[in-house]
Symmetry: C2
């Protein structure tokens, strides 16, 4: 393809969309080439398209389908698996400007544009005394469209579930530009195939999400927070199992020594940097149950060998610990660029997984912090590496792969909540098997026969 | 096809499966031709196949695919939409004998054969102090495989969600006999397309579910029950909206006068047969919240014009009212065969829907009771008709269709929890639109190119 061909085709798109919606300025394009995974293999797109309506998205996809041009849908660009890496010669279609919002307190639903941030949705529904639970650590900067596209998780999933559990309806534009509505503001709907849920977590490979209808629930009750430090990782992970055998915490988070130190070095909040591991648990059970659970968690942590246990009913104190946990990734990024893992296992395998991750890091001589949504078995090993050092990067990559292999061998998943994107694609067949890959490819081909939607991601 | 051809082909299946697994006795076959919808158009199958293992299902499907023979998967045969009507010359594949059961209290999951009854799963997990919430009214006789295949609902959905919200993993045998595993006992898993959720609610059109892994939660807290009678249906439905605007009941059920009378005439439990409508609500909020909600519901019912309000903390009393509500369908069946509706609307449209149903029944001069999972907008109009009276049956059919048209016009669904099956198929395009039908057909073709799986159902 010559530069002239390319421009001529793009002109047809520019002509069909409002002025300024198709961006070709290389400086601006540069900012849209990668999500937070900083994929080194991201291509240079022809253009970034910034639609504000579903009709704009339809025009862009009809055009792309006509010319067989790759379309990479992008939310807020906070993805951690390279699901929004630009494709050479394709377009990046960002939904960040699609920001409609309607809250219906009677049906307890919100219907929102994909570009609204998760935090904006939470705030808008809170004004109606309602709660949208899913809470990725990046909730202040990630978009609801991206959350739906990756089936994002968060800290409260252990009790309140994933994004898919809250998506009741979607508007989606298919590869050929057809806009369809799936589901809607109905708590129950068994009519036809469950296509809504198929699009949730499809990472832009099946269609572009242009509107999301989410289920809302009453506000979370007051929370108590219990923080426990342990000398060893093993004691902490065994304490996690002891807790979940008995109760259902509203949050149960794990930090290892490396992540504790990284956070403390930035926030200076008095975390014990000699601890081997830290657990942060919350109970939001109503009435007396909360006090009972808080007492019981304190007992179980103590019995499990915690060197210190601190419990508080003060929301601000609790939030400061939660914020510390959420800050682990940015804090580790100050040490160096990260390969960010997201492996999960059935809960009984959690101690084995975390032990194994330590051994893998040691074997490959890489710095690897581990944080985890421990209560649901989902861990985030954070492997520090210097991308300008090829030998070190190679070791980090091997550790990254070994960790996924370990999770798979324990009956786990290569991604609990970030999605496969491009960085984890090579491991997906090992997890799900060739038959499931083949089935997934058949569905992909049925929906996007020309393969223009997010090529190179997931499948 | 001659009878000889037919027998020869069946012999090949008989040879490949254990003795007695392929049933051709016409008397036994007769019992497997219809589900509870009593579809008058059900065909006569070649045979009923009763596998006990996944391998048997694989053999049956490979054989069916080889000979392009229709396979109708069947759970316990309690379906209400004709999803398991036998197809002439096909086979009925019943999963009733696949009854494996494993409960894991640490991962809080149960992995069960599709033939286990919902009530059996509930009982087995209760022994581990856990709860499987979905509770179709038929929970004592319906199977977990059928529940997953139809995305079954129930009375507690209003607070606790549908079957799909609890299915973490499936084993499915595809049309070509390939067995695949999707998901598993992991609370979080974002790896690859969300195929697990696609198969939930697919009504046997995409594959045969041979194992289900469900999420469990801690036992339901003690419940209080509030029963209110109203002179008019309108007052009752407005009271429903008043409740859901303020709180999230654990149950909120509606019965109209016809269903109250039908139940009372059998159970003689002292229901007020002069009432226009009855609401049964429950609160299971822990601690003081339960008493507070009970008081507030009583206030709202009274303010809404209830002629009588009765509140009880006694579980047995509460259960007797719930059982009365669950008994409405069998009680109405004593009056005559039913056309059983399952339409749902966004909650604010509930009064309009129920008013409209009354008018439709009047217009077509049919007896129609209405019961509803009112708190989630899902109603079950029960149209009595005499199948031996063609003129009356035609009127009942017209009412059945008009009710679906009304629900669609109110932004609702033709089926909240029973599935489309064969009886509601003609209305599905009106609800979801031709583009979604086309998309669904493309997925169906990709998974079952010969169309052997439950032909004539849903699509």
């Amino acid at each position: 393809m010559t530069a002239t061909d390319r421009d001529a085709r793009l002109d047809a798109l520019v002509d069909r969309l409002p002025d300024g919606m198709v961006v070709t300025d290389p400086d601006i394009i540069e900012g849209y080439r990668r999500d937070r995974a900083a994929d080194p293999d991201a291509g240079v797109p022809l253009a970034v398209v910034r639609p504000t309506t579903t009709e704009h998205v339809r025009i862009a996809l009809r055009w792309a389908n006509e010319h067989t041009i790759a379309v990479v849908p992008r939310g807020a660009g906070t993805g951690l698996s390279g699901g929004a890496s630009a494709v050479e010669g394709g377009i990046v279609l960002t939904t960040e400007r699609m920001r409609a919002l309607a809250v219906d307190p009677v049906t307890r639903t919100a219907t929102v544009g994909p570009g609204l941030l998760n935090a904006e949705v939470k705030a808008a529904v809170a004004e109606h005394g309602l709660w949208y639970p899913p809470d990725p650590s990046s909730f202040e900067i990630c978009s609801i469209g991206g959350n739906a596209a990756t089936n994002a998780g968060g800290l409260c999933c252990v009790k309140y579930g994933m994004t898919t559990d809250y998506v009741l309806g979607l508007e989606v534009v298919l590869a050929d530009g057809t806009a369809i509505r799936l589901g809607g503001p109905r708590l129950k709907d068994s009519a036809g195939l469950s296509l809504t849920k198929l699009f949730v977590g499809s990472e832009g490979t099946l269609g572009v999400i242009t509107e999301v209808t989410v289920r809302l629930i009453p506000p979370q009750p007051p929370r108590s927070t219990i923080v426990a430090t342990f000398e060893s990782v093993d004691a902490a992970t065994e304490a996690v199992l002891a807790i979940v055998r008995e109760m259902r915490p509203a949050m149960l988070e794990f930090m290892d020594r490396t992540s504790i130190r990284a956070v403390e070095s930035v926030l200076n909040m008095g975390l014990d940097t000699t601890a081997g591991a830290l657990l942060i648990a919350q109970s939001d059970s109503p009435g007396d149950d909360r006090a009972r659970e808080t007492t019981r968690m304190t007992e179980l942590f103590t019995a499990g060998g915690a060197s210190e246990v601190f419990a508080t009913d003060d929301p601000a104190d609790g939030e400061s610990f939660t914020a510390a946990r959420r800050f682990a990734i940015p804090a580790m990024e100050k040490i160096g660029p990260l390969l960010l893992e997201d492996v999960g296992v059935p809960l009984p395998a959690l101690p084995t997984l975390i032990d194994g991750i330590e051994q893998i890091a040691e074997r490959h001589a890489v710095t690897c912090a581990v944080i985890a949504h421990a209560g649901d078995g989902n861990t985030h090993p954070l492997i520090v590496h210097d991308p300008t050092d090829p030998e070190q990067t190679a070791r980090a990559q091997r550790a990254f792969g070994d960790i996924m292999d370990l999770a798979i061998s324990l009956g786990g998943t290569i991604t609990g909540e970030h999605g496969v994107g491009r960085l984890k694609k090579a491991w997906l067949p090992d997890q799900v098997g060739e038959d499931v890959m083949e089935l997934s490819r058949r569905i992909k081909s049925a929906l996007d026969p020309s393969g223009i939607l997010n090529p190179g991601a997931v499948l």
